[in-house]
């Protein structure tokens, strides 16, 4: 326990930001405790693939104890943070209290329904493994129910799939779901005509994937149309009762499935910390990602509110979290050496979104790609970024298989 004398760095959250801090401190003279409420790191960018039965949870999640097995200065603890005392410098979990010298809050985000209770109660989301698997089970059950439904009206409602939110997740989910129907379900349900099946993508603003340059927004729209996704922009959702959705203009569309991807906010835990919050509940931090009045507390990723050069808040993206994790590790090391911390500047690494099989849009090194080349870049980038060699191989096998045989193997309806 000579490690006791080393400064104790407590990292809450093992998403992209927290993981990056932990890894970059591997060689530093510190004792790290990493806390997460799950025992695995989740590769969120591919979570939508679990929801549309394209990938298995274990292909995009990896046990944290295995990841950090070789990092001797780190201990993992599974648990949920209930409160934090910034003055006495300790973190409370159920059943234990952990004191820190330096705290890194990388608690991430959660779905933001903007107070639309009817959607929160009756809609689906793709936020964690459990919700993605529930979404998968729900989607697959709709086809089973439709296959037994004699009434054409009711069958159409069972086969109408609404995705709300024109961001990357919404676009990727809509494209992949449309392909699941047109390439896989048509084969699985020969007794039923799937021309009734509809995939709607609803976006309140004028554009899909707003962050992208205009030519890519157009390309995205065209690619989705070609996959028979009905794109409705400038369209607001008013309410959803589980069978029927009501739009802002009072139009009603019968649909048993609504997947909400239209909002993210900081994880709820930060609401109870008595800190100053900005839009989406994110915590206002210094340019160095330190908490005002508490230089020993860093906040990284979705939970941190910091403005970009252009005065816009930084987007809630894994790339932002990764870069913030890197600078936070550096700043912790600088402070240990008596140096002053450096401010964070986001370097846009480019944009990349897939629209189902063999189509994607990308903006890299200032160049816009769309279609197959962009998709190949997307596949390899994501497989490369996936943690764990074996996972990469399995994901590749999966995709190769799906790509060649238009086949998804994960279509199990499991009870919860």
């Amino acid at each position: 326990m000579n490690t006791k004398k080393l400064p104790h760095i407590v990292i809450v959250g093992a998403g992209f930001g927290g993981m990056e801090v932990a890894r970059r401190l591997a060689k530093s003279p510190v004792q790290i405790t990493l806390i997460d409420r799950h025992n695995y790191h989740l590769f969120q960018p591919l979570l939508y693939q679990v929801a549309i039965a394209g990938l298995l949870p274990s292909q995009i999640a990896y046990p944290l104890r295995t990841i950090f097995r070789k990092q001797k200065n780190l201990t993992f603890q599974m648990g949920e943070v209930t409160s934090i005392d910034f003055n006495s410098r300790y973190v409370k979990l159920e059943g234990s209290v952990i004191a820190y010298d330096t705290l890194v809050l990388a608690v991430g985000g959660q779905t933001n329904f903007f107070g639309m209770n009817s959607v929160e109660q009756n809609g689906l989301q793709i936020k964690d493994i459990e919700s993605a698997v529930s979404t998968r089970n729900h989607l697959l059950s709709m086809f089973e129910r439709a296959s037994r439904e004699a009434d054409a009206e009711k069958r159409r409602a069972l086969l109408t799939f609404v995705i709300v939110g024109g961001g990357p997740t919404g676009v990727e989910t809509a494209g992949a779901l449309a392909e699941l129907i047109s390439h896989v379900m048509v084969k699985d349900y020969p007794e039923m005509s799937l021309t009734d099946a509809r995939v709607l993508l609803i976006e309140a603003t004028e554009h899909l994937i707003t962050a992208y340059p205009d030519e890519l927004r157009k390309a995205t729209r065209d690619l989705l149309r070609r996959k028979n996704v009905e794109v409705l922009t400038n369209t607001k959702l008013a309410s959803y009762n589980g069978q029927q959705m009501t739009l802002g203009d009072d139009r009603q569309i019968p649909a048993h499935t609504l997947i909400w991807t239209a909002g993210v906010k900081a994880a709820e835990v930060v609401d109870h910390l008595g800190v100053q919050q900005a839009g989406s509940g994110r915590v206002r931090v210094e340019s160095t990602l330190q908490l005002p009045q508490h230089p020993e507390v860093f906040i990284v990723g979705d939970a941190a509110y910091l403005e970009n050069g252009d005065g816009k808040p930084l987007p809630m993206l894994s790339t932002v979290a990764l870069q913030q994790g890197k600078i936070t590790a550096q700043n912790i090391q600088r402070i240990l050496k008596g140096q002053s911390p450096k401010p964070f500047h986001y370097k846009d690494p480019g944009l990349l979104a897939t629209i189902g099989r063999n189509a994607a849009v990308a903006r890299i090194w200032g160049i816009s790609f769309s279609g197959f080349i962009a998709w190949v870049i997307w596949v390899f980038l994501h497989i490369y970024r996936l943690i764990g060699f074996r996972n990469r191989v399995l994901v590749l096998v999966n995709w190769a298989w799906d790509y060649i045989f238009y086949e998804n193997q994960v279509r199990l309806i499991t009870k919860e």
Copy 2:
């Protein structure tokens, strides 16, 4: 709908028995409706691998609609049978009624707790995907809790894993769990000494895997001992409260985990059919597997009670179900041709049980194998029997990986 004129064969249950009947009638002039409460076929012999985090559910389960995609005379319907009218010849599901000319009941079995409510309430089982995943989550959580437990007594209780039942499932689970601890968990939990961890295998009778010849029973015991499984035969379980188990001789053993594999009985649905039942609730059938007074109803697999040549009831094994499925398909064809059905005779194809990595016991063509050769036979036989080429590849990749690196990748604790 010219198929309407063809005799309608309704098969309830898509386990080994029901699947075999359905496949062997593929070329017959019949219309088949296959009913199962799940949308997948489950390869039960490997379910324990899901429970010990060795395989993924989707590696041993396969969507039924995909399996029967090319069989044009079969329609699949997902649903639970609520009642059967043998006189009017129809099957009732929630929301639908299906008339039959010939009925095949292949509803399988369920766990038999022999009225031990304390075990049913506080113990774990490995009967379907859901219970196997719950068992996995429970097992993995015990290690997390133990890693936070300061009290040595309590930690020992958290790390004491009891498996009740010395049949193949119990033996295979105990062996695999012991290896998970000694090869994987020791690496994942460097902060905690796992010498406290115990795996107990409890069997009420004198022998493990009673059906096997004596030399293999001995070999099994030795192999388990070598893997540090404590084998207690002639030991009865009296009760279990979730923290402590009480044995027949009032001995008490603190243990937070008890997996019950000691009993199987016919699926509950047959209790409500008003038919004559024998031991384990199985339905008494003619030697042709027909229901007395109802020659148009066949019962195959765990749900059927038939005695072997030696007067013993046939075991509840997949091999029995498969052979009964085969003869039932033949008898249905014979009856359609106006021939009389043939009686069923079980041909023992041999016995095979694995005891964790690289060790197994087998009895094939009258020869007894044990150790590595038996294990290789077991691996290839099981992979071969697994449905779906891609699954086989993935299972092989998984096992090869585990075998070379002593690594299990599926150790995710998911909420239910």
